[in-house]
């Protein structure tokens, strides 16, 4: 067992899942929400020549995905250190 205790192992996994779920909610809302389900509503708004819903479907969601993975990589690295389960 790499963790100090059973409770640490549980807490680590719980924090991991919670970070993952938060980011996946954003992932879902931006792509399926803004890009598909709400696209018609958002298309009423235009900025710089883009209809907003269309922009989310074609570019905005991709940019968001990159940011999400970046946050995840940073967050997990911090979590690994906190529970001392990082690699050498």
């Amino acid at each position: 067992m790499a963790f100090e205790s059973e409770s640490h192992a549980k807490a680590y996994w719980k924090e991991n899942l919670s970070l993952m779920l938060k980011l996946l909610i954003v992932w879902f809302v931006v792509s399926y929400g803004f890009g598909i389900i709400l696209v018609d509503v958002l298309n009423e708004i235009t900025f710089f020549g883009f209809k907003l819903g269309f922009w989310f479907a074609q570019q905005g969601s991709i940019l968001t995905f990159i940011v999400l993975i970046f946050i995840y990589v940073r967050g997990m690295a911090a979590l690994d250190n906190k529970y001392n389960v990082h690699e050498d």
Binding site: M20, S31, Q58, Q59, I66, V73, E87
Partner: protein, 571 residues
């Protein structure tokens, strides 16, 4: 120098580069390749993953589909990038910690079952076959245009080159060769986009030019590009570019199938086994998506520039049609491949392209990216560069897939399952037979494609979504899931998806319309439903068959944190 000569030179130079790197870094066996790349840093691995991942479908076909489908084409843009989020958060780090090479290995060990392993191997083979069938069409489009032959000949020539490229030792997709391929591919994609953006909107960055106003001297100047595109589309009887025609349900399901499929594709997952640490697996996913996005954020811009240009060059600035005798050279060039045809229905000698009965043009969507520099009258070297990029994209992915197919058949299926007593020599023989069979099948589908490149490839993703994704997710996040449940899920999921696709694409293609689809889901999107069925079947079967053994549950616990990850092992 004419375009054809330049193309030969540039494609030749890039080939020399790949071969040069392969000789220089000299990886012998498959094992060497994996172990060697264990020392590759996440940025290089990210680039290599990007090249491996971006196939003819991304490079050649995707922008064309977006150009013709407008908003509906977004499914490919979101689908093929959003999957990396799932991959980074739900799969890559855990599979890396698990420390095996292939997806069937993970499934076999996690579900402590030879049957599970065999089923996983069969799924992997089916997925790769479907995927490569789509690739060959893309390779064919490139070769037919630049050798000025018809598409069937182009497919055959391309297939022969891919076969030798794969069989040649040291061309197995070594990381640094793929880094080079990524760079060629990216330049080939970005350079024409920058030219077109400058020409049409005066913006250097195509990503912003896409939302800008049209430059002076171009028809419709002063108007927003997308607004003009919507206007032209409606006027010519097409759906509005930024709106699309597919039902919401279908768009949702296709996007999900592509995302989940990305996370379940065996040859992509493998890349994350080869980095030194769990932390690097996460970082590699980040870099891979970043490099992929360079191309994916440009694709929609190329699509809209191309569409406006097509309207302008075929229908003329006043939308009265352009005399065929004055047709731009790109139309004449592409007519030789048979991928563009013109029929003068009203005998006025003018071409007309529209979405209604006035239409006289048939344009294959897969030529868009390759024809784009010619349509925009860009310098010949840009046209040649794009060809080199197309070849790089198609070759890197096809070679990787052929390798997976041949080792899956000869090693995983025969040697480790059906015929454990075959000699090494026989194993090699069967590997070649498998690769050759895959080539022959893909040539057939390259000549008689059941859809555009990106659509055929979408089927491969659907199959991956319906088979591997749930098994791996439950393997990590549901530690009590047992082998019976996982096997039942995979079998039902892939059979359902496969039959649905085959039914609508081959058995009864005349019924392939929205009214006949199950819940309005097209064959491209059915993988999502297959995935849901897989999950449900697995969970229900698990309820009746008891939990996975204690030692397996401990194994699952141990892959949930990074500490103690070793080198990936083959068995």
């Amino acid at each position: 120098m004419d375009i054809q000569t330049l193309t030969f030179i540039i494609v030749g130079l890039t080939f020399a580069l790949y071969i040069g790197i392969a000789i220089w870094s000299r990886a012998g066996s498959t094992n060497d390749f994996y172990v060697a790349s264990g020392g590759v840093n996440p940025i290089a691995n990210g680039m290599a993953t990007a090249a491996d991942w971006m196939s003819a479908a991304s490079f050649i076909s995707m922008a064309g589909i977006v150009a013709f489908a407008g908003y509906d084409g977004s499914v490919y843009l979101m689908g093929w990038t959003g999957g990396y989020v799932l991959l980074a958060m739900c799969l890559a780090p855990y599979l890396r910690k698990f420390g095996k090479f292939t997806v069937p290995d993970f499934i076999g060990d996690r579900y402590y079952s030879q049957t599970a392993r065999t089923i996983a191997v069969i799924c992997a083979i089916l997925i790769c076959f479907t995927y490569i069938a789509g690739q060959m069409r893309g390779v064919g489009v490139v070769f037919s245009r630049f050798l000025e032959v018809d598409i069937a000949t182009g497919v055959i020539i391309g297939a022969i080159i891919v076969f030798f490229y794969t069989v040649l030792g040291g061309m197995k997709g070594i990381t640094y060769t793929q880094v080079a391929q990524y760079i060629v591919l990216m330049f080939a994609y970005i350079v024409p986009a920058v030219f077109l953006s400058l020409m049409m909107t005066g913006h250097v960055l195509p990503q912003t030019g896409f939302g800008a106003t049209i430059a002076d001297g171009v028809p419709g100047s002063g108007q927003f590009l997308l607004e003009r595109l919507d206007g032209l589309s409606t006027e010519l009887g097409f759906a509005e570019y930024t709106e699309g025609v597919r039902s919401k349900v279908d768009v949702f399901f296709i996007t999900a199938a592509l995302m989940v499929g990305t996370a379940g594709l065996p040859h992509v997952i493998v890349r994350f086994f080869t980095v030194p640490k769990v932390r690097d697996a996460r970082r590699s996913a980040f870099w891979a998506l970043t490099f992929i996005s360079v191309v994916y954020l440009t694709a929609p811009t190329i699509a809209s520039f191309a569409k406006v240009n097509i309207f302008n060059t075929i229908n003329g600035p006043d939308l009265q049609g352009v005399e065929y005798d004055n047709a731009p050279s790109w139309i004449k060039n592409w007519e030789k491949t048979g991928l563009i045809t013109w029929e003068d229905n009203n005998n006025d000698g003018k071409m007309f392209y529209s979405g209604d009965e006035r239409n006289e043009m048939t344009i294959d969507r897969d030529i868009m990216v390759l024809a784009n520099p010619e349509i925009g009258e860009l310098p010949a070297w840009v046209v040649a560069l794009v060809a080199a990029g197309g070849v790089a994209a198609a070759l890197s992915t096809s070679a990787g897939l052929l390798l997976v197919i041949s080792t899956s058949v000869s090693h995983d299926l025969l040697k480790r399952n059906l015929a454990p007593n075959i000699t090494d020599k026989q194993e090699l023989f069967y590997a070649r037979v498998a690769a050759a069979t895959a080539i022959v099948i893909s040539v057939y589908f390259g000549i008689y494609p059941p859809g555009f490149v990106a659509q055929v490839v979408a089927f491969a993703f659907g199959l991956a979504a319906a088979s591997f994704f749930p098994a791996i997710i439950m393997g990590v996040f549901h530690k009590r899931m047992n082998s019976t449940g996982a096997i039942a899920g995979m079998v039902v999921g892939i059979l359902f998806t496969f039959s649905y696709i085959v039914y609508f694409k081959f058995v009864a293609p005349e019924l392939n319309t929205q009214e006949n689809w199950l819940f309005g889901i097209s064959p491209e999107g059915i993988g999502t439903l297959g995935m849901i069925i897989n999950f449900v079947v697995a969970v229900v079967v698990h309820k009746f068959t008891g939990d996975a053994p204690e030692e397996i549950q401990e194994l699952v616990e141990s892959i949930r944190y990074p500490k103690g990850s070793g080198e990936a092992k083959s068995h």
